[in-house]
C-alpha cells in the first residue's frame, strides 16, 4: 500500500474573471507539439488545450484555453484579431479539435431495422459511416444538419438545400 502523493494545490490563472482581447495573447507550439499561451508578454501557460465556448453555433468567436486538470486559464473573443502566426496556429488546432467533415453528396443509405449505413462524399474525401438510429441526426435552428455516427464522429451538412436533388431526396426520407 503505497498511495501516490496527491498533486500539489492548483494555482488558478489570474485571467479567469475577464474575456481577453486577442491583442493580449500569443500562441506558439513547442518542440513537444504542446501549445503554449503567453498573456500580456508576462505569463506563459504550457500545454494548453483549446476549447471553443460555442463550438457548434459560433466556433470561431469565443475560444478558451484550458490548462492543468482542465481548468481554464484564459478566454478570448474575436480570435481573428490575433497576430497572424498565433491565428494560423489556433485555426489549425481548432480544425483538429473540432474535426467535422462536411457532407457534399450522399451516394446511398442502406437501412436495416432502423440502423443505417451511409456512403457519402465529404470535403475530406469519401467515407462510410453508420448510425444506430435517426436520433443521431440533428437539425439545428439555422437549418444545418449535424450527424453523429455510432463511433462518435460528427458530420455536418452546412446547407441541406444546396445538395444535389438525389442527395436531398435521400436526406429527406431520413429526417
Amino acid at each position: 500500500m503505497n498511495p501516490k502523493r496527491s498533486s500539489p494545490p492548483l494555482e488558478l490563472s489570474p485571467y479567469r474573471e475577464e474575456i481577453l482581447s486577442p491583442e493580449r495573447v500569443r500562441l506558439r507550439r513547442d518542440q513537444f507539439r504542446h501549445l503554449r499561451l503567453l498573456v500580456d508578454s508576462e505569463r506563459e501557460f504550457a500545454d494548453v488545450r483549446v476549447a471553443a465556448a460555442y463550438p457548434i453555433s459560433q466556433r470561431a468567436n469565443f475560444v478558451g484555453f484550458l490548462g492543468e486538470r482542465g481548468r481554464e486559464v484564459a478566454l478570448i473573443r474575436d480570435p481573428e484579431r490575433l497576430d497572424p502566426e498565433s491565428r494560423l496556429l489556433l485555426e489549425e488546432e481548432l480544425a483538429r479539435v473540432y474535426f467535422t467533415p462536411c457532407i457534399t453528396r450522399i451516394y446511398r443509405v442502406e437501412e436495416t431495422f432502423g440502423a443505417s449505413r451511409w456512403e457519402v462524399e465529404t470535403d475530406r474525401g469519401f467515407t462510410i459511416f453508420e448510425l444506430a438510429d435517426r436520433e443521431q441526426i440533428r437539425t439545428l435552428a439555422d437549418g444545418r444538419i449535424l450527424i453523429q455516427d455510432v463511433e462518435g464522429t460528427r458530420f455536418e451538412i452546412p446547407d441541406p438545400g444546396a445538395l444535389d436533388p438525389a442527395s436531398q431526396a435521400v436526406l429527406d426520407s431520413e429526417t
Binding site: 518542440q31 507539439r33 473540432y98 474535426f99 467535422t100 432502423g114 440502423a115 475530406r124 474525401g125 463511433e151
Partner: protein, 766 residues
Amino acid sequence: MSEESTGDSSSAFEQAQGHPNNLPDDVRSWLEGLLRPDERVDASLCADLLRDGSYGERWAFLTPQRLLVVAPVDGQGAEVELELATDQITGCRIRDFVSSGTLEVTIPEQGLELVRFTRGFRAEAASMCFSLEQIARGNAQNKNGEAAAARQAPPRFDASAGRCPKCGRVLPRRSQTCLNCLQRGKLVVRLFSYIYPYRWLAVVGLAGTLALAALRLVPTYLTKYLIDDVIGGNDLNRLLVVIVALIAVALGTAAIGVGRTYVMQLVGNHLMYDLRTQVFDHLQLLTLSYYNRHQTGHIMARVTSDIVRLQTFIAEGLQDIIVNVVTMVLICGLLFWLDPRLAVIALVPIPLITVGAYWFGRRIHHLYHKIWRRMSRISAVLADTIPGIRVVKSFAQEPRESRRFEASSADLFDQELRATRLGSLFFPSIGFLTSLGSTLVLGLGGYLMLTQPDGRLTLGSLVAFLGYLVQFYQPVTNLGQINHRLQNAATSAERVFEVLDATPEVPEAPGATVLPGIKGEVEFREVRFGYEPGRYALDGVSFHVKPGEMIGLVGPSGAGKSTLVHLICRFYDVDSGAILIDGHDIRELSLRSLREQIGVVLQEPFLFHGTVAANIAYAKPEASPEEIVAAARAANAHDFIMALLDGYDTVIGERGQTMSGGERQRISIARAILRDPCILILDEATASVDTETEVQIQKAIERLVENRTTFAIAHRLSTLRKAHRLIVLEQGELAEIGAHDELIASGGLYSRLCHMQSELSKIRAW
C-alpha cells in the same frame, strides 16, 4: 502469438482489430518488403486520417527495434513516412477530440504526431499507446540502470459496444443482437416455441380462420346458382333452399368469426402474459451496466409496447397473411374453373397492383416513421414544458413555449398531410386498377355471351366471376404491404428476445460459494476498472479495511468514489486485480449471499409505492411490527411517521414525492438498519438535506455504523468526523489513506479540502 494466418474465416472486422496476425493480405504483402529479416511486428495500428485531416489510410507498426508509420501507395507497395528507433521513445499520449484523435510520441526533446484517426479507431490506438508507454517506461528504467520490467500484453480495448461482435455491423439502437447475423427462420421458430403450449388453441383458431375464408366464397357461388339454375329454371322450391343456405352461411360466418376472434385473442394474450413475465423476471437479473446503456423509457417500452405489437402480429397479422394467401389461391382456382379466358384477363392488373402496393407500403412506412418521430418530438416539448411550468411562468416565457410547440406541431401537420396525400393517391389508383380489371372482364364476358350465347359462360358465372374478382383484388393489395408488417413484427420480436438474451454481465461463477456470516473485512488488490475502454475510473487501487472500521471516501467529483462502492456491491466486475471480503474473492461468491451482507443508503433514496412499513421492511419482508418500529426509532424516523395520520400504514406516493428529502432519507436508513448488514455503504447520504435534518440523520447513521464495516462517501467532511480512516481518491488513484489527524499533518489534498471547508463554514454553519 503464432505466426500463422487466421485464414479466410476472420471477417474484415476482426482484421481491423490491429493484431499483427490479423493483418489484411495486401498489408501483409507490402509489409514484408519493409521489414528486416527476422523483424517481427509486435503491434500494429490502422488509422484513417492524413495529417491534413482528409481521409486516407496510414499504418503504424511496432517491432522490437523500430516504430514505423507507413503510407500505402495506390495499387501496390507502401512508403515509410516516419521511422523511429524504439529506444528513443520517451513517452506517448492520445489526444481525444470531438470526432477524432491523434497519437503522439515523444522522443528526447521532440514530440511527433504519429497518426490521426476518427473515433472508430480509438480502441486500436489505445492499445498501441499502451505498448509504446511500456517501451518508454522500459527506456527510462534502462537509463537509470534498473532492470526493465517484463512487458505485458495490452489489455483488451473493446471496440465500440454498439457493433455486432460477429459481423461488425452496427446494431440498431437499443438492440444487442445483430439482426443480420440472426437467421430470420430462427426468429420464427422461437416465436412458435411460445405458441407451442397453446398449439391446440392456435390450431382451432387457424381452422376457424380457414373455414371463414372458405365460407366467404360460398354466397357468391350461391348467387351463380340462383341466377343460372333457380331463376333460369323457374324453380321456387330451390329458391327457398338457396335462401336458407345463404342464411345458414351468414350464421356460420358470424359464429365462427366470434369463436375465432376469441380464440386468437386468447392465444395472443397468453403469449403476451408469458413474455411479459419472462422479460420482467429477466430484467431483474441484468446488471447496472445494462441499465446504464438503455434508457428507462426504452426498457419499459419493451415490456409493454413491443410485446403488444407482437401480440397484435400473432393474433391478427399472422392470420391476415394466412387468410389472404388462402383466399387468393382459392379464388384464383375458382376464377380459372369458372372461365379460364376471363381469368387471364382478370390477372392483367395484378402486377400493377402488386408493384403499386409494394411501393406504397414502403413509402407509407417511411412516412409513418417520420410522423412517429415528429410525434415523439412533440411529446418531448410537452415533457419539457409541463413539469417546468413554474419556470416558464416565472420567466414569462409562455409565448415562446407556445411558438416552440407550434413549430413542432406544424411539422407534424406537414408530414400527416403528406401521408394523407399519398393515401388519397393510392387507394383511388388501386380502385381504378381494380375497376379496370372488372371492366375488362365485363367487356370480354359480355362479348363472349353475345357472340357465343350457347357457350360455357352463363350469366350466373359472369356475375359470380365479378363478385370473386372484387374479393380477389383485396388480398393482393394487402399482400403487397406485408413485407413491412413482417419487418415491424420482426423488430419487435427481436427487441423482446434481445432482452431475454442479454446475459447478466457479472456472471455467477459455477459452484459459487455462499458467503457465511462474515466479519466484514474488505481488501482491494490493485483494482482497475473503467466504464470505457482505455479510461480507468479506478486505476490500481489497493487497501485493506478491518472489520467494523468506518472508512470515509473523499475526493473531488469524478475521482472514483461511487465506482469504488459499486465494485464492492459487485454491480460491475473489476477489469484487473481483485476485491476480497473476509479473504474470499467476491467473484467466487454467490451474488445473493454477497449482497445480503451489504446495506446501501443512497443520496437519492428510492421509495416504492406502498406503505411506510412496507418500505422499511423492503429487504426483510417478514420483519415484525416491533422490529420495524425499532428500526425507525434508530433511524430517527419514528416521530415523523407517528405524526402522519395513518402512521406506519401511510401510503407513500410514487417515488415518495409526498415526503421531504430528509424524511425519505431516514426511511431508507431504517431500511438499512432493519437489514442489519455487515458492510454498510453510505453514498452521500446527507447531501440533500438541511442542517437540522442532517444532524438527525447523522445521529441515526452513528447508531447504524456501530460494529459494521462502513464506507461513507461525503463531500461535507464534517459528516466523516467519526471515520476511523479516510481514503482520498484523485482521478481514480489512491492519493492518501490514513486517520484524519495524520492526513491533516501531512498537508496533502485532504488537509487542503478540510481547510477550504472550514473557511466555508465560517459563513455557513455545519
